[in-house]
């Protein structure tokens, strides 16, 4: 019983939240890694791209709710998501046309593009604040809980409960579908293969008749879809606040780098590595340890390595360690 209680506590406070958060990071990191692989720069505006897509989705959600349209037990935001994606596609394609293409044509060094993307980041973040303000926005409606802690306790007779929120399940399902579609696209379609070829060897791809403008456009479209989905899932799971998306940039980059920049599979693995590290390091293990040792050891302290305010330090530390010891990431990516 105690072991089961330990397990349930672990699942409730570590496993379930980390899987949901990891899925969100993985989607975010996929966008970063695609841009790095094809356009060859680290896009600092990625967090704000997520934020923009989410802001539009929230506005569309409000519109749908006002019109009386909801998704029943599911959040209305899922219906609004395609609208957010569409708007974000227009935004990034417009940005590429107006800003990045200028530097690409001049064959600007990656570091210049990074700085340019910071400028884009500021503009996008201003747009988002203009659209929905800086307040905390809860936009998850529908059924809140899939499994509530109380129900779980009655079913199992355990002392500890396991709560699974609808948004957590939706996050995992939607992320899995998005990733499956992405990999189908990259590995099975000719356009996807030409993207991989372009990422592998640009010179040769051009010589094989692959149109770079098309590859770049398709990349931005995929990135907009991934970023908006990631942003909306994160916002549903937690809440939307303009500033948090800027902060998400660090764990997202850490995920992409840990997995190996330019490597999509790596980005997914990296997302879960970072999410689990963050949650586990900031979790107070007292309860789990007490159960697991059959009450023999009830620690006085919380057994928390770091308080949650420092959670970003975890990403940062992992980022530094990977860059120092394995700059190409755990899975082979491009060296940073």
């Amino acid at each position: 019983m105690d072991l089961l209680n330990a397990l349930v506590t672990f699942a409730n406070f570590v496993f379930v939240p980390a899987v949901a958060y990891g899925s969100q990071l993985a989607l975010g990191a996929l966008g970063v890694t695609l841009i790095y692989g094809i356009l060859r720069f680290s896009n600092f505006a990625h967090g704000e791209t997520m934020s923009f897509g989410t802001a539009i989705t929230i506005m569309a959600t409000w519109g749908l709710q006002a019109a009386g349209v909801t998704a029943g037990p599911l959040p209305t935001a899922l219906i609004a998501l395609p609208i957010g994606i569409g708007a974000t596609i227009l935004l990034v394609l417009g940005t590429d046309r107006a800003v990045y293409r200028f530097y690409r044509d001049r064959k600007a060094a990656p570091v210049i593009l990074v700085i340019v993307s910071m400028g884009v980041m500021f503009i996008m973040s201003a747009i988002v604040r203009f659209l929905v303000g800086v307040e905390d926005i809860q936009f998850a409606d529908g059924e809140r809980m899939l499994v509530s802690a109380r129900d779980f306790k009655t079913w199992t007779g355990l002392e500890e409960g396991l709560a699974i929120r609808t948004t957590q399940v939706i996050t995992v399902v939607v992320a899995a579908v998005a990733v499956a579609l992405l990999f189908w696209f990259l590995n099975r379609t000719r356009t996807g293969k030409s993207m991989r070829a372009f990422s592998d060897n640009e010179d040769l791809a051009l010589l094989s008749g692959i149109n770079p403008d098309r590859v770049v456009a398709v990349t931005w479209i995929l990135v907009a879809a991934l970023a908006t989905t990631a942003g909306v899932l994160y916002g549903l799971d937690k809440s939307f606040k303009a500033f948090t998306y800027f902060q998400l940039l660090l764990p997202i980059f850490a995920s992409a780098v840990v997995g190996g920049l330019g490597n999509p599979l790596g980005a997914i693995a990296g997302g879960f590595v970072i999410a689990f590290s963050e949650v586990m390091v900031t979790y107070a293990w007292k309860q789990v340890v007490a159960y697991a040792s059959f009450g023999a050891w009830a620690p006085d302290g919380l057994l928390q390595l770091m308080s949650t305010e420092y959670k970003f330090a975890v990403s940062f530390a992992i980022l530094i360690i990977v860059l120092l010891f394995k700059p190409t990431g755990l899975f082979k990516g491009q060296s940073v």
Partner: protein
């Protein structure tokens, strides 16, 4: 076929190509030789759209193609290989070849999703073609290797193989023979001659191996210091005093005379 008029390519103050004019005739295998640093690769880079020229003009069949990007030149039938072999290192050799013929029905997402039968047929045809090319180049045994793991010589063959996946009009080969052993070099030479005869490819070949040049190429163009120094048959070139001084040296003069 290809005409280059007074082409200049400067890197800062350095004139890598310094007023080169030349003509590559349809159906020929034209040799391009010259000392290292003569500007041969740079000339290729400019013709093939990898670098913009500082000034000058390139025409193909009378049409101005100066500064067109490589993927557009590809669709006009102008292909090239690199001095240092390039490959999609994470793909297999067969996949590398199958990447070449761009723009088929698989290009559109609609087709990829709704016409999978047709796509599969096309892919199968493409795979058969790739296998023919591999067979032709005698590297069938590495078809499923990652291209990044090939030897230098095999990569050169793969480069040549890419040009065989489509119907090219003119192919520029940059030192196909460098770092390739004799047997492979003969394979490459045979392939070039067959493509020229059977499929009507025009070639422009940079090579340092004078036996190879002498056996294959007519005419031969000599470049030095960014300019065209001489042009003629391989025999004439090997006797040419200026060429011997700039490039071939006396050892080859004796050999050429012998």
């Amino acid at each position: 076929m290809i005409e280059v008029h007074d082409l200049h390519k400067h890197f800062g103050g350095f004139h890598a190509v310094d007023g080169a004019s030349l003509r590559i005739c349809k159906g020929s295998i034209t040799g391009l030789i010259g000392p290292n640093g003569a500007g041969k690769t740079t000339l290729f880079n400019v013709i093939a759209g990898r670098l913009p020229p500082t000034s000058g003009r390139v025409t193909m069949g009378g049409e101005d193609i100066t500064g067109l990007p490589p993927h557009e030149l590809f669709h006009k039938g102008l292909l090239r290989t690199f001095q240092i072999a390039h490959e999609f290192s994470s793909m297999t050799v067969r996949e590398n070849l199958m990447m070449v013929p761009a723009s088929q029905s698989g290009e559109s997402l609609w087709n990829a999703w709704f016409r999978r039968g047709r796509i599969r047929e096309e892919e199968a045809a493409l795979a058969r073609k790739a296998d023919e090319v591999l067979d032709f180049l005698t590297i069938t045994h590495v078809a499923d290797e990652k291209a990044g793991n090939l030897s230098g010589g095999q990569k050169k063959l793969l480069e040549l193989g890419r040009t065989m996946m489509v119907d090219a009009k003119i192919v520029f080969l940059d030192e196909v023979g460098a770092g390739v052993n004799r047997t492979l070099l003969n394979t490459i030479a045979d392939a070039i001659v067959r493509l020229n005869k059977e499929r009507g490819y025009t070639f422009c070949v940079i090579e340092h191996d004078m036996d190879f040049i002498g056996r294959l190429c007519d005419p031969v163009i000599v470049m030095a210091q960014g300019k065209v120094l001489a042009e003629g048959s391989a025999q004439e070139i090997m006797q040419n005093e200026a060429v011997i001084e700039a490039y071939l040296g006396t050892g080859l003069k004796n050999k050429g005379a012998a």
